[in-house]
Amino acid sequence: MKLKVCGMKYQDNIESIAALKPDYLGFIFYEKTPRHFDTKIPDISDNIKKTGVFVNAEIGTIVEKVNEFKLDAVQLHGEESPYFCSILRSTSLLSRPIEIIKVFSVKEGFNFEVLEPYENVCDYYLFDTKGKLPGGNGYTFDWSLLNDYPSTKPFFLSGGIGIDQIEAIKTFQKSDASKYCYAIDVNSKFETEPGLKNSSILREFINKLHNKKTMNYNVDDKGYYGEFGGAFIPEMLYPNVEELRQNYLKVMAEPEFQKEFDKLLKDYVGRPSPLYFAKRLSEKYNTKIYLKREDLNHTGAHKINNTIGQILMAKRLGKTRIIAETGAGQHGVATATVCALMGMECIVYMGEIDIARQAPNVARMKMLGAKVVPALSGSRTLKDATNEAIRDWINNPVNTHYIIGSAIGPHPYPDMVTRFQAVISEEIKWQLREQEGRENPDYVVACIGGGSNAAGTYYHYLHEPDVGIIAVEAAGLGIDSGESAATSVLGKEGIIHGCKTLLMQTKDGQITEPYSISAGLDYPGVGPMHAHLSKTGRAEFLSITDSDAMEAGLELSKLEGIIPAIETSHAFAIFKHKTFKPDDVVVMSLSGRGDKDLQNYIDYFKI
């Protein structure tokens, strides 16, 4: 059954409703209604039939509007005669073919014989509720009256249909009366004010109408994303994690907290970060590429959005000591920075091997007053640094807050980190509206290690089905090389660092050591939200090798004058593997700047 959404009025709203792919959108050309349409129709898909609604208008007026707005259908809501319809149908003044929909208001005792003269002069009937005004009366008629429908002409069912009628519609669909029902027509029941439609309720309606299960990509109240997430922690950590779980949403909702968070993001971090149209890159790949410049944040990456949020959280919870883990040192620096800002003690755990290969970041952390503790166990990299930080927390349960740097760990960490990073997609929405006239791009793209920049980039688009989500993992030397970090391909469901997610492990359940040239993507697991996005197919996961990433980093430097972090370079390598349409809008999370990786670039390219 098709869907028509009628009474559209505002440009932005037209775009967001068009994104739900209805079959018809209705524009009312009748000045006596508050839904009277008097602006322009933005560019929308050709698959949506633009329908002009008229009440006893002159033929000339209708022709003019059809030609001006490139209407595909005309809906006649007044006492237009069969003769009028036949003239309209045959006039040569129309620049394009149109469908004619003739409206009849139905109530008990409706005489279907009135339809007969219209049989050959219109394409559809529309049955509405008989009310005081033509259309939009907001209540339904008794659909069983259609049992007496004598025609075979397809019709629109209209009049006060809302989300509460889903069951009634389904019952109706099963009845004989619906045999010729071609479409459902909705209007006022989906409005927040006349002419302004609520896209999320409409989406729910559409999903229910088509029996689509509405998938939830956010965390549920038990801390799971589908089957992933939860809090698999030893009892020793229970009080700490539970304290956080009980308080994080409450604290984040406090106006004072929000004010402080927003102010620091603005004055200290430098937000909003620009959304930059990458002209030369776009030309090269023949599509429209925008860069969300998280690399311009203070400390050079998105990481600080989260550490600012978490240190404010730690203060609210009365903590005096901060611990963190770090791989490449970016999260360690971002944590050391906010600890200096707040005058709090800071201990950063870092794998012994990473300390050796990331000397500049170790120095930065020390300058900022943090103590860097080497993780000497296991593989002496990020996963072991995380183990050490967790052990520290077990040993210091009362005064310490653990700032996890990615969208991983036991619930509520993945959700909390995602919410702090969600500022990224919140800004993309209004920035893209300013530049493209619409909030939703065709794709959002981010690189994924644990997945915090990705989580923030996707967050406000998770439930926008017209926005494609692309996640880029590190393939290292290649998926089958044994030296890789492509968790969505190589990982299996399991438990790491307190959550159930996809992780790289042996058959025996031992966690294996990943490999990537980029220390920030070198993690054996992936955040539980991303595991869910992968499993449900909501996100497309691509994996990019070291060499492709390095080349993409060099290309971005030369084309746009931006040297990206190697993590970020992985995301930019997708253009070599995936073709976008010329009018696609692709928003890339430029998660970090490449200063820290200069030595790697120098060594790789022998610069």
Binding site: G230, A231, F232, I233, P234, E235, M236, Y238, P239, S377, G378, K383, D384, N387, I390, R391, I394, N395, N396, P397, V398, K492, G494, I495, I496, H497, G498, Q505, K507, D508, G509, Q510, I511, T512
Partner: protein, 255 residues
């Protein structure tokens, strides 16, 4: 009746020893178990090694890494334990992290434990709620006792909840810490031991973490039914090998 429950009914303070399976050598498992029983140990925790043992200190992290390097796996351990019940009769508990069991299949793991004569499991990172909701029925089907931990930070309410779900003993973690020896128990610990003792829980308590010698063993068992020694024993076999287990147990029990 489960061997653990039987043992808990004995009128004595219990010594339980943890060791890492596959350490120092891959095939030491059975001889360590036999020697521990022979030397008066009441209960044994067989450590199934894990790559990322979050709740453990450096000693057990290292022995686990070495055991994995030696080739220890869940399959290998089960193979080694075949016929163990013809050799020893004290309660045997497998202690390990959840992921290896999850990969083996929780039900298959429990079934195998029952076949081999394992009496219980300690899984530090399997939360009480998840156990209760998803796995309790399976554990009970195969006659396994699951042992939960409590710490000085655990609230009374939660201790009562854990007590209600337990059917063997409660593992009392002596202080806010990972495993590994501390220098004796201070006032804070003894106050906590007393507090728990006064709660009159349904399940007896066994104290672990930080017990390394006769002094700490005696102190702990003043308040609890027994005590568990892990890191100190692992250190002993690291230093002296597996032939002098009697020296270690004597130092605890007969000092």
């Amino acid at each position: 009746m489960n061997r653990i429950n039987q043992k808990l009914q004995e009128d004595k303070k219990l010594l339980s020893i943890y060791f890492t399976a596959g350490y120092p050598e891959i095939n030491d498992t059975v001889s360590i178990i036999q020697d521990l029983e022979k030397n008066g140990v009441d209960m044994i925790e067989i450590g199934l090694p894990f790559s990322d043992p979050l709740a453990d200190g450096p000693t057990i992290q290292d022995s686990s890494t070495a055991a994995l390097k030696n080739g220890m796996t869940t399959e290998v351990l089960f193979k080694q334990l075949e016929g163990i019940r013809e050799m020893v009769s004290i309660p045997l508990i497998i202690m390990g992290y959840f992921n290896p069991m999850f990969q083996y299949g929780v039900e298959a793991f429990c079934k195998k434990c029952q076949e081999l004569g394992i009496d219980g499991l300690i899984i530090p990172d399997l939360p009480v709620d998840v156990y209760h909701e998803k796995y309790q029925a399976i554990f009970e089907k195969y006659g396994l006792i699951n042992v939960f931990l409590i710490t000085p930070q655990t609230s009374d309410e939660r201790i009562r909840y854990i007590d209600s779900i337990s059917n063997g003993f409660i593992y009392m973690v002596s202080s806010a810490s990972t495993t590994g020896a501390k220098s004796g128990f201070g006032e804070e610990q003894t106050a906590y031991f007393e507090r728990i003792g006064n709660m009159n829980l349904n399940n007896p308590q066994v104290i672990g973490f930080g017990i390394s010698n006769n002094e700490t063993f005696t102190q702990a068992t003043k308040y609890a039914k027994g005590a568990i020694i892990g890191s100190a024993f692992v250190k002993h076999v690291t230093k002296h090998g597996v032939d002098s287990i009697d020296t270690f147990t004597n130092s605890i029990l007969n000092a």
